[in-house]
Amino acid sequence: MIEVKDLKKQFGQKVAVDNLSFSVKKGEVLGFLGPNGAGKSTTMRMVTGFLPVTAGEIEICGISMIGSPTEAKRKIGYLPESAPLYNDMTVRGFLRFCASMQGLKGAARATAVDEAIETCFLESVASQSIDTLSKGYRHRTCLAQSLLHNPEVLVLDEPTDGLDPNQKSEVRKLIKRLGEDRAILFSTHILEEVSAACTRAVIVDQGNIVADGTPDELEKQGGGSLSELFRKVTSQESPAA
């Protein structure tokens, strides 16, 4: 459902993503690993249609993100890296706004908002102003936003960043459950999450895919440990950000 072919992104002279190709099918959860500055977020921003591509093809459920962005964006739920929110709104107000933007109305919108609040455990803060939320709750609010329109494709940039251990495991379970009938692309720096939630993982370094396989295969390549493989295939010196 996500098809990416020869994706390239250049900022001025700097190549952030270089000829990246991968695909995520329905029922797959693809883990996106890589050192800081590897180009994970940049790739996700292009897949979700926020950044224009320098070269390459992106198809979401068969719709080209470059040719018809509005239709393609309708299929995607996206959690940006920094979990941006409108600070002057309440959690419920924000989710209601996002649901309207996704084209939901009336009763359908109310149900969608209630479901997202329940899925992301936000009941206790639903009517609290966003600027008074703790970091973890902010993150969960933004995650809830990505689930509102029940998208077929989820792109989550570090969904477990800033969450407490209980919530981390809840979100992993959530990703695994949602992944059964969706296509999910998510990035993380926590290697245990790969075996806990992913059906497949790729390691990206300096804009290139350097390893690709199921969690078991990758562990085997690393001689039994994923972090060994990670150290082996990624350059120790991350490029100056």
């Binding site: 979700t48 995607i76 936003q145």
Partner: protein, 243 residues
């Protein structure tokens, strides 16, 4: 539809962040206050309100309008919410319009709430209410022009203070290059063409026509053209920033 959703969100945020109240109160007090003091409302018995009341509006708006709009896009960049907007199934154009209309609506309220002065002139004498209405229209369109300019400027930067200073500077130039004292000064030294050019470029000559009840086509083209250029420019700037 999406423009409407964004309009509602923006308008609510103007009121929850108290910007709207500040604008309404300050503009109301200053515009009516100036009319009764420096505007010599009593002395001229200026029933059309042209010189006593409306004359001050561009001067107030050139500072207050950018103050409302400075966070329009800079905030969106700073907090990263532009990434949410940019990945929702909406065009940037509808977001730009929604935000612009919301800020214009706040000013519509602020202008409407200066109505006591209209009631006073009607009570004191027998003014031409059409002229007064056309004055308000002129004031509103000058305001919209300044809002569009600061929308464009705020798209360039994530720093609100920079956005404010640059927009005020541009609005200041547009206001002052057509104002009487400047025009008179130029008339003494410069050619007639320069005088013409300045008063066509500045907002004052267009605005003063409106306060006298004259809404002329060239003026409308001037204002609406300027607004469209700024809004389309906002779209281009927002696009180019992501390339």
């Amino acid at each position: 539809m999406n423009t409407w959703t964004i309009f509602k969100r923006e308008l609510t945020s103007y009121f929850t962040q108290l910007t709207a109240y500040a604008v309404i109160v300050i503009f109301g007090l200053l515009s009516v206050g100036l009319a009764f003091t420096f505007g010599s409302f009593w002395r001229y018995e200026d029933a059309s309100l042209s010189y006593s009341f409306f004359w001050w509006h561009p001067l107030l708006l050139m500072i207050l309008a950018p103050a409302v709009t400075m966070r329009l896009w800079s905030d969106e960049h700073r907090t990263g919410t532009i990434e949410l907007l940019g990945t929702m199934p909406v065009s940037m154009g509808s977001a730009i319009l929604g935000k612009f209309f919301a800020s214009a609506f706040v000013w519509l309220i602020a202008l409407a709430l200066t109505f006591p002065i209209v009631v006073s002139v009607n009570w004191l004498g027998d003014p031409d209410n059409w002229t007064i209405f056309s004055g308000y229209l002129g004031s509103f369109i000058v305001c919209c022009t300044f809002l569009a300019i600061s929308s464009l400027v705020s798209a360039f930067t994530r720093d609100q203070v920079v956005a404010l200073i640059v927009s005020v500077a541009i609005c200041f130039i547009l206001t002052f290059c057509g104002i009487d004292p400047v025009i008179n000064e130029v008339r003494r030294s410069g050619s007639a063409e320069t005088v013409n050019l300045l008063s066509t470029l500045g907002v004052y000559s267009h605005f003063l026509d409106a306060t006298r009840g004259l809404i002329r086509l060239p003026s409308l083209i001037y204002f609406i053209g300027l607004i469209s250029v700024c809004l389309v420019g906002t779209n281009l700037v927002l696009k180019s920033q992501r390339a």
